[in-house]
Structures are given as C-alpha cells and as structure tokens.
C-alpha cells in the first residue's frame, strides 16, 4: 500500500512538457447520409493533417500508456462551443512515442446542426493523456495549429 502510494507520488516529479508540430493540409466537406437515419442528410468534414511530435519524454517508470488525440475546436453559427476528436492513437512503448503521421480523420467529423455552412474556421489541437500504472491521470497539449482552418462549401461528389 505504502509502495503504491510512493510510486503514485513519485510521478509528480516528472514534469515533461514536449511540443511537436501539427499542420492541416486540407479540409473538405461532403454531403452524406446521417448514420442512424438513412433519410436525413448531413455534411461530413474530411481533414488531412500532418503530425510530427516526439512524446517520448512523457515515458517514465510509472507510465503505462499515452492516449494521444487530435481534436477540432470551433464555435458554430449558434455560438455553441464544439470540440470533436477526429483521430487518436494509443502508445504503449517509449520506442513508439515519436509520432510521424500524415493522414485523414479516423472518426466521423460532423456538425450538430448537420451543416458546416458559414461555420467559422476551426483550430486543431494535439493533446495527450498520460495514464499511469498507479496514481493520477494527467493531461497536456502537444501542438496547436498556428492559424484556424476554414470549412469550404460542401461538395456533392468526391473529386
């Protein structure tokens, strides 16, 4: 019990705050069908991005895994604050903690109002969650796009 507490407390000593690079290559919006209701139309956004971040300083003796996620932050036309995770990755070893990734979103990116029309540009942020073997979960931010990326008008077909 005391040993567990000591291990949990010791991880407060490690305060790494690694930073990386993140850029959004392109954003496209397409018309699609809603998932649950085949008759309802909805717009989906597809984001291409590049991540280049070395998160290995976050690994110490009480790090079980990292949960790394990329989220889009934007306010919509009804001033609702939205944050949507569009990509994530679980890292379990220090050797895998250098993330070099170019690709598109893993999860569906949709708007609550079903349309991205006139929605202000979105910021994209790379965040991480350090999960210990025992103790307290911590969170941090590794990268943020330097300028917000706009949502273009919706296309009806892939071109």
């Amino acid at each position: 019990m005391a040993l567990l507490a000591a291990i949990a407390l010791s991880s407060f000593v490690f305060t790494a705050n690694p930073k990386g690079g993140l850029e959004v290559a392109s954003v496209k919006v397409y018309h699609a069908n809603a998932r649950r209701y085949p008759n309802r139309k909805q717009e989906l956004a597809f984001v291409n991005f590049n991540i280049n971040a070395d998160l290995s300083p976050l690994f110490h003796w009480n790090t079980k895994q990292l949960f790394v996620y990329l989220e889009a932050e934007y306010n919509n036309t009804k001033s609702v604050e939205n944050s949507v995770v569009i990509w994530d990755r679980i890292i379990r070893r220090k050797e895998d903690a250098y993330i070099k990734f170019a690709g598109k979103n893993k999860y569906m990116f949709r708007e609550v109002s079903t349309s991205f029309k006139d929605v202000p540009p979105a910021n994209y942020v790379l965040k991480y969650n350090v999960m210990p073997y025992v103790g307290v979960l911590t969170y941090g931010e590794a990268a943020r796009t330097s300028e917000a990326a706009e949502f273009p008008a919706a296309q009806s077909r892939v071109s």
Partner: protein, 206 residues
C-alpha cells in the same frame, strides 16, 4: 472441537456478546459515513468504482479500481474518461469523451451549494462574476478498445448529458477491485467472508 470455544463463549456472557455486536455495528456505520462523506466531497454518487468490462483496454482491465470526482463548476473535456449511467441500463459504463458541444447556460443551484460548502462562497451568489455559468453539454463517448462510438449504448438518446454522468476518472489502482468481482461471481465466497468476519468479531477476546 468447538466445546472449548462454546465454554469460553458461555463464560463471557451475554453482555460481552452485545458489546461485540455494538462494535460490529459501529464499524459498519463508520464505513458508511466515510463512503457518503467521500460522495459529498467529490459530488459523485459513487466516488470509487470497479471496472467490469474490457472496453477500455489496455488502459483499464477488469477489476481495476477507479477514483472519480464530479466538480459541478468544471465542464467535461474531450479526452476525459467518464463513468456514466443511462436511465434504464443497470450497470455504469467507463468510456472516454470523444465530442463535446457546449451551449452557454445559467449558474445552477447545485453549483452554488457545492461552492459554498467547499470554497466557502456565499450561497446566494447566483450572478457573482467569480462563478462562470456551466454550459449545457452534449457529449459523445467511446471505449478505447471499441471500434465505434457509444450511440448504440445510449438507449435511444442522441447525446450523453451531464445528468447521466457519475464522474470523471482522476486516479487509478490496478486489480484491487477484483475481490468484489470474485464475490459477485461466487456468492459462496461472499457469505464465507462475511460469516468469518462476524464469527471473528464475536469470539474475539480483549
């Protein structure tokens, strides 16, 4: 074999037995007090939970113990691991928040009560500048080990709301909770343990 114990039992008399029962009752009562006190501080109906499924592997396995808080003046963020209970579902679920959509809201009374209890703010401070109103949040969750999000688990609801959430995971101890899972799977173990404890309490001599 038990003759000796029985003799000792008779010698101690009724008064001793009553005293031991009283002791036992006070242990149970203080346990309950600690549990409810923790619930009050963390603002969560169940501040300690045991993981029952593998949907958050490799982060959490069956039997891991989680410590939760649910501060009423904090919004939930993406990446937070929540424990939620949908009305109609009997077991709470531990999953990570994937989407949040916040509509600006008003300061709630429960928020003021909690703040006045633990940060000693005046109770009728509904429009104090220090207190930011809590947004009305619509959330979507997903288990790390699942391929799709949780919409199918919401029993017809489109989004998860604050009122469904029991708390967010703050701390973690591996495997300790496995005892309770074992006791649920093998009820004999539970009765044996409880009976053994009770007998021990009764037969204990000062």
């Amino acid at each position: 074999m038990f003759a000796e114990e029985l003799k000792a039992f008779r010698r101690l008399g009724l008064r001793h037995v009553l005293l031991q029962i009283l002791n036992f009752a006070s242990v149970i009562a203080s346990g309950l007090m600690i549990w409810k006190g923790l619930g009050l501080i963390t603002n969560s109906e169940s501040p300690i939970v045991v993981v029952l499924s593998g949907s958050m592997e490799p982060a959490f396995y069956r039997g891991d113990l989680l410590f939760l808080t649910n501060p009423p003046n904090q919004r939930y963020q993406t990446g937070d691991i929540t424990v939620y209970k949908i009305p109609g579902a009997d077991i709470p679920i531990v999953h990570r928040v994937l989407e949040t959509h916040d509509t600006p809201g008003k300061v709630k009374k429960s928020q003021c009560v909690w703040l006045s209890l633990f940060l000693s703010m005046p109770l009728n401070s509904y429009d104090r500048p220090g207190i930011t109103p809590m947004p009305k949040q619509l959330m979507l969750t997903k288990g790390d080990n699942n391929h799709v999000d949780d919409i199918e688990l919401y029993q017809g609801l489109e989004w998860l709301e604050r009122k469904h959430i029991v708390g967010k995971v703050r701390g973690f101890v591996p495997y300790v909770g496995y005892v309770t899972i074992a006791m649920n799977d093998f009820p004999q173990l539970k009765y044996a343990l409880l009976g053994g404890l009770g007998l021990l309490a009764l037969l204990q001599r000062e």
